[in-house]
Amino acid sequence: MKAVVVGGGLAGSSAALELASRGAEVTLVCAAPGATALSWGTLDVAAASPLRRGGLPLRDPASGHPLAPIVRLHAVAAANPAHPYATLFRERGPEEEVKEAVAALDAWLAPSGLRVHGSLAQTRWLADVHGALRAADLAFSGAGEGDLEGAEEIALVDVPGLPGFEVRSALRTLAAEMAAVGLASRALSIVRLALPEALRDDAAQPARFARNLDADAARGALQDAVAALGAEGRLLLVPPVLGLDPAAGTRAWFEATAGCRAAELVGAPALSLAGFRLDRALGAALSRAGVERIAGRVERVEIEGVRVRGVQLAEPGPPSRPADTAMLPCDALVLATGRFVGGGIVERGGQLVEPLLGLPLHDLAGRRVDSLAANQLVRGDYEGEQPLFGTGVRTDMRLRPLGPDGLPRFANCFAAGDLLGSFDPARDRTGLGVALLSGRRAGIEAAAC
């Protein structure tokens, strides 16, 4: 059986890996890294943001007790019947579905040195580079080790010269937010990493700095400076630049050298290398699984009646990534083209379009929006719901995208990830959860057809 997956983010990769594990011959077509490569170190299936409006409640409104992620997960699926979670959890409850998906993801990433930490039973308190608190659930190696709960003392590590990290501002914010959620008893401080001369210039380029830390030379030069940061019972929170290669174990080296717990702060794009590491680890997993990867864009999908026959690739992108311009025949197609970053939904001639199959698009409230322009779906309320951010395709129970008549448009085409509409990951705090869960499900469904 031949399958084509379009899109190489977490959704597309999960679909391809599931298909490959079920014996399909999988080709993954990917134009460029998308939103997954810009993610910030947490997986998050149902996180909460304690001090900002919108999203899920952090505590039980009646008793005031913090809600476990699994409770929030149920709440997300129940609150919006069109949410991808509601579709995914209809047959089996979220517990098993998530447990299985996380175990699968962990197994895919572990050979590259990236693990998934956390569980749905307990909220993990993580801090981001701005000092904001996140009630996270699952997180990758790096930020995943940084639960504030178990620490007696928390120290933010200032790396002189690193752009985009204002340590004093982060400290003030973190102190205020911890007090607001009742974590205030922990001591907070700033410690400064004394960079040796040779590493000082590179700190201006976070990626270069991170690469240095992967190698023995820089580690040797930093040995004393890192050792000086440690103290009994302290949790060191470092900007998210601990290594480019997850297999190099840079966070573990930092922790061992300092002699106390150390973790990365949850990142922001441009400073964080967490998404980059995830993207690379997924790429390595695809290679190990024997998935053929083609760099390029799909120009056209070959259709015969209610079946997709194959995809036609467009001109290759940059010459360094040659793409075969031939037609790729397939028995099943998984669309995981993303939303606005990935190019799964574009605005063409002032109208929102799903460019590959012209599938109907719906906004958060279920309205058809594919004859509207993006700016007609934005409201002037900063914290309110933005219909645009929930725009995407609708699917049936098996994740087959619906046509204009509300019936599955094709028998062998499946959609996954952000291309699915009716949810806004920024408000739901569903993070990469929808990508992982829907990607796996689309892969399983595609393998069965």
């Binding site: 380029q205 980059f276 940059p318 360094s320 970053v341």
Partner: protein, 151 residues
């Protein structure tokens, strides 16, 4: 207009480029003088611009450069190019992001500004950065163009 002056003042304070300052002063004076003399009273605006300012080293970007600048404007500043550059062992003296942003500025500023020296020493041209660019910016071409000797 005022913004333009501020831009040059900033550029001057940063690079110490006397040429940029001189051009600014000269065109500032020339503009007023030419208006007073009515030399740009008629004709198409672009023609007038070129006629009046070609002598000062101002010119419209060519179609190719304009396309390059426009594509550079799509930069998300996500940093994947820098990460891939570092991963593949590249050692350019300028962050690919900076080059792309510099080129994007050209689309707005028209005038080629004095750029800091490191751009003059280009990277190894391995194009690793281009393979991960979500906006498909031809980063290598942008770098080459920025590094090209200015006539």
């Amino acid at each position: 207009m005022l913004r333009g002056y501020r831009g040059f003042a900033h550029e001057f304070s940063r690079t110490g480029s006397l040429r940029a300052l001189w051009m600014q002063l000269r065109t500032g004076a020339a503009h007023a003088a030419r208006r007073a003399l009515g030399r740009n009273a008629s004709g198409d605006p672009i023609g007038i611009f070129l006629r009046n300012y070609a002598g000062d080293g101002f010119r419209l970007p060519g179609a190719e450069i304009a396309a390059l600048s426009l594509s550079a404007e799509a930069c998300l500043v996500c940093g994947l190019c820098s990460a891939e550059c570092a991963r593949s062992g590249g050692t350019p003296r300028i962050d690919p992001r900076d080059a792309v942003i510099a080129a994007a500025r050209m689309a707005i500023d028209w005038v080629r500004l004095e750029l800091p020296e490191p751009i003059a020493s280009p990277c190894a041209a391995c194009r690793a950065c281009e393979t991960v660019c979500p906006a498909h910016i031809p980063i290598q071409q942008v770098q080459e163009w920025l590094a090209a000797p200015r006539s």
